[in-house]
C-alpha cells in the first residue's frame, strides 16, 4: 500500500493539469482569433472579413478537435500495428490499460530505426499511441512497458488533447502569418500606403496604431505559438514520467529506457517541428554528433533534459 500513499499528490496534479489544459486551449483559441482579426484588418477585409476569419478559425478549431490525431499520425508516417505482428506491444498496452482503467487506444508503428514514441487523440476513448520500430527493437520488455506507461499517462492526464490541438493551431497561425505577410508585401501595400498617409493627416491615428500592432502580431505570431507549444509540453513530460511509473509500480523500467534514449544518437526521420512536443524524447538532433542543427533545436526544447527526468525517477 506504500505506492498508494504516494498516489494522492499525483491525483491532485492531474486535476490541476486538466484545468491548465482547458485554460491553455482557451488561450490558444483567443490567440488564433487575434491573429485572424489582425490578418483581416491588414488585408482590409472589413467587418465581413473579420467575421469570415472568425468562422474559419472556429471551423478549423472544431476540425482540429476531431482530426488532429489523424494529422499527427500522418505527419509521422505512422501505420496501424496489427495484433499478430506486434503481439508484445499489444499485450503490454492491454496490461497497462487494465492497470489504469483506460480503454485500449489504437496502436501504430512508424518504420524508423530511432527509438521514440508519442500519444495523440482528444480523449481516452479516441486516442492513439505510435512507436517507432526502433523502439520495439532496442527496448526490452520492462523498458518498453515503462515507455508505453508514459504514453498512456499522457492520455490519462488529457495532455494529448492540448498537444494535438497545439499541432494544428501552431500550423494554422503559421499559415495565416505567412499569408498575411506575403499579401502585405505584394498587393496589400495598396491599402496600407493610402491609409497611412491619411492617418498621418489627423483623425485616423488609432487606425495607424492598430495596423502596426496587427503587423507586429502577425510577424511575431509563429514565435508566440511556438512558446505556447513549449508551455504545453515541458512540465507535462515530468508528470507523465511520474504517473507512468505509478502504473507499472516499477521505476527501473522507465529509468533504463530513458538511459537508452539518452545514449542513442539516431534521429527520427519523419519528425516535424509541429509534432516535436508529442514524442517521449526530442525527435530532432540535440547534440553535435546527432546533427548540425542541434544548437538551434536546443533553444526550442520541448522536453526537460533527460538527465533531470532520470534523477527525478531515481528518487521515487
Amino acid at each position: 500500500m506504500l505506492a498508494l500513499a504516494a498516489e494522492l499528490p499525483v491525483y491532485d496534479q492531474v486535476t490541476a493539469n486538466k484545468r491548465r489544459s482547458w485554460l491553455l486551449v482557451a488561450g490558444f483559441a483567443l490567440f488564433v482569433v487575434a491573429v485572424a482579426v489582425a490578418f483581416s484588418y491588414l488585408i482590409q477585409a472589413g467587418p465581413a472579413g473579420v467575421a469570415i476569419a472568425l468562422v474559419v478559425a472556429i471551423a478549423l478549431n472544431v476540425g482540429a478537435y476531431w482530426k488532429s490525431d489523424a494529422v499527427a499520425l500522418r505527419l509521422s508516417r505512422a501505420r496501424p500495428a496489427p495484433q499478430e505482428e506486434f503481439a508484445r506491444y499489444h499485450n503490454l498496452v492491454e496490461g497497462l490499460c487494465i492497470a489504469s482503467g483506460l480503454p485500449k487506444p489504437r496502436l501504430y508503428v512508424i518504420d524508423d530505426p530511432a527509438p521514440n514514441a508519442f500519444a495523440t487523440g482528444r480523449n481516452p476513448r479516441n486516442a492513439a499511441v505510435a512507436v517507432t520500430t526502433g523502439l520495439l527493437e532496442k527496448m526490452n520488455r520492462m523498458e518498453l512497458e515503462g515507455v508505453l506507461a508514459h504514453e498512456l499517462s499522457h492520455i490519462k492526464n488529457y495532455d494529448i488533447l492540448v498537444s494535438t490541438l497545439a499541432v494544428t493551431m501552431v500550423g494554422m497561425v503559421a499559415i495565416l502569418a505567412d499569408l498575411g505577410i506575403r499579401l502585405l508585401w505584394w498587393g496589400g501595400g495598396r491599402r496600407s500606403h493610402s491609409d497611412f498617409d491619411r492617418d498621418r493627416g489627423g483623425n485616423g491615428g488609432p487606425a495607424a496604431i492598430l495596423s502596426i500592432v496587427g503587423f507586429v502580431l502577425l510577424l511575431l505570431s509563429p514565435l508566440i505559438a511556438r512558446l505556447m507549444q513549449l508551455a504545453v509540453s515541458r512540465q507535462r513530460e515530468t508528470l507523465a514520467d511520474v504517473s507512468g511509473v505509478e502504473m507499472t509500480r516499477y521505476p527501473p523500467g522507465l529509468i533504463s529506457a530513458l538511459e537508452k534514449l539518452r545514449d542513442d544518437s539516431t534521429v527520427v526521420h519523419a519528425h516535424s517541428r509541429a509534432t516535436a512536443h508529442l514524442w517521449i524524447e526530442e525527435p530532432a538532433a540535440q547534440t553535435p554528433d546527432e546533427g548540425r542543427l542541434s544548437r538551434v533545436n536546443r533553444l526550442f526544447q520541448t522536453h526537460p533534459p533527460i538527465e533531470e527526468r532520470i534523477a527525478l525517477l531515481r528518487e521515487m
Partner: protein, 183 residues
C-alpha cells in the same frame, strides 16, 4: 420571502450533494465488481492458453513428463478451486510451473525457435502481466472506495445505505516468498 429562498436553495444544494455522492458511491462499487471480474477474465485466458502450450512443448520434449504434468495439474486445480484461498494457491503453482516450462525451452533450441511456442510464450507472459495489473487496479479501486465511504460527510450516507468496506486482494504468504522453480 428571503428566508424562504434561502431555505429552498439550501434544500436543493443538500439534495444535489446527496444525489451526486450516492451516484458516485454506486459507480465506484460497480467499478470494484468490474475490476474483480476483469481478474477472472484474465485467469480464464491463462487456463485456455495452457493446453496449447503443453501440446506444442510435447512435440519437442515429450519426455519432460514431470514438468508438463505439473503445469496441467496446477491448471486443473485452479479451474476446480472452490475457495479464493485454494485458487490463489493454484495460481501460484501455475506461475511456478510455467516458469520451469519456459526454462526448459533453453535446453531445446528447436522448441525455442518454434514460431508457435514463441507466440504462446508471449501470450502467457502478457497474460501474467495483465493478471497482476488487474489485481493492482482492483486494489486501487478498493482503496478509493474505502477512503470515500470512511470520509466525512460521505460516511453518513454510506452508513445509511449500507455501503460496506471492501477487502483488498492480498497475496498470501506463499506467493510473497520466492516461487520455487523445479528443473
Amino acid at each position: 420571502m428571503i428566508a424562504l429562498i434561502v431555505v429552498v436553495v439550501l434544500v436543493v444544494l443538500v439534495g444535489l450533494y446527496l444525489v451526486i455522492t450516492y451516484n458516485g458511491l454506486v459507480s465506484l462499487r460497480n467499478r470494484i465488481e468490474n475490476a474483480w471480474a476483469q481478474i477472472d477474465v484474465q485467469l480464464k485466458r491463462r487456463y485456455d492458453l495452457i493446453p496449447n502450450l503443453v501440446e506444442t512443448v510435447k512435440g519437442y520434449a515429450a519426455h519432460e513428463r514431470e514438468t508438463l504434468d505439473a503445469v496441467i495439474t496446477a491448471r486443473n486445480a485452479g479451474m476446480n478451486a472452490s475457495t479464493p484461498h485454494e485458487q490463489a494457491q493454484a495460481e501460484n503453482q501455475i506461475t511456478g510451473a510455467l516458469k520451469s516450462l519456459f526454462a526448459l525451452s533453453e535446453a531445446y533450441p528447436d522448441l525455442k525457435a518454434n514460431q508457435n511456442f514463441a507466440q504462446l510464450q508471449e501470450e502467457l507472459t502478457g497474460t501474467e502481466g495483465r493478471i497482476a495489473y488487474a489485481r493492482q487496479f482492483y486494489n486501487d479501486t478498493v482503496y478509493r472506495y474505502n477512503t470515500k465511504i470512511q470520509s466525512f460527510p460521505a460516511n453518513i450516507l454510506a452508513n445509511a445505505f449500507r455501503f460496506r468496506e471492501r477487502e483488498y486482494f492480498q497475496a498470501d504468504d506463499e506467493s510473497r516468498g520466492p516461487t520455487q522453480v523445479r528443473f
